[in-house]
Amino acid sequence: MTEKQKRYEALVHVYHSELFRFAYWLCRDQNIAEDLVQETFLRAWRALDSLQDQQAVKPWLLTILRRENARRFERKQFDYADVENDTLVDEQSTTLDAEMEQTVIQRQIGKLSEEYREPLLLQVVMGCSGDEIAQILDLNKNTVMTRLFRARNQLKEALSSDDDQLRGASN
């Protein structure tokens, strides 16, 4: 195995899970998410020699993935948006309560506007710092912090109103 292959495979093993999850929450489709991650790593392989700074790997991969996601809309000729995402199989064993709670949170995350959802995903799923998010999204750090604050605030508010509705319904 060449040095380049070793380096590449290490990169795939370290980042593929996080990138898949990030991609999934961007597009809400497992197959598209998998394609996006595949395309990202293929491009990363082709450009690996140009990557000098190991510290910059994660923002670099995320930048490629976001660009691929944007290209998806450019090359889309037919409107094939899925009407429902029915087949997401959750293999993790969780209690029904926890599962319901997670489903409610997932639904609310889906409702967040992209400008709030994306920084939140970068922080929670990818573990990016505020500076990294600012670099990836090409925003200044204060804007990123404001969006992160608003994202959590909106989620918390939406979830507590869901709770209220549930309580109302059971009365």
Binding site: Y8, E9, V12, H13, H16, S17, F20, R21, Y24, W25, Q30, N31, I32, E34, D35, V37, Q38, E39, F41, L42, W45, Q77, F78, D79, Y80, A81, D82, V83, E84, N85, D86, T87, L88, V89, D90, E91, Q92, A98, E101, Q102, I105, Q106, I109, L121, Q123, V124, V125, G130, M145, T146, L148, F149, R152, N153, L155, K156
Partner: protein
Amino acid sequence: MDELEFRRRILAEPSTIDKELEAFAEQDTDKQAFIDDVRAFDDELSKALNIPVPENLAKRIIDNTYAAEDAPSEQPLDTIIEAKSRFAFNRLYLAAAASFLVAISVFFVTNKQHTLYSVGEHAFAHLYHEIGSLDKHEAIDLAYVNEKFATIGGHLDELPGKVTYLMFCDFQGKKGLHLVFESDFGPMTVFIVPSDEQPFGTGSDDFNDERFAGHINRGERADTILIASIGAPLDSYNSMINDAIRWLH
């Protein structure tokens, strides 16, 4: 720092509490409780986002990357999945089949210059858009399939293999069912698209490309499209599926 600034900073970055924030929250149980509350919320958030990653994804990514590099010319990524196909075609056979089909395709393309989309174009565009649907193995209960199918008025008595993929899809504005089942000849795709307003594409009822062959059964209620890998006995599967479909009202 004031209370609002404190809350904003905790909500923006719950895991990063610097000295300034720490000092501000010290000896204030309400502020401590707020930090704990936001962190507990973040744990829930992480769990909800932590969806399972497909099995062997890393290996597939690496294999596909090297396969793409070995390919003699730049190919679209879709064709790389050929390497994962459960069919053990030898290369010579594939090459012969491919060149033959190129000739056939040229024939079809030149004969359909005036149509907007042929059945084949429409079906393949959709299939390749969701090509990962062919790599699923988890069985989906037929009762569940029927629960979904019933919403567009249909019922399936049986299928010649377990269903591994099920999705409602938008076929040019028409909501239809996209399912994949496992057959003895590899995964097969079925689209069932209501035909009351417009037919599913025009032109020949049979179509194919280098990898797949398909057939459309034009029904009164819906068009049923079956797509299988080249070499599979399409006709017999086609009759089995069309015999199994019933309309509820």
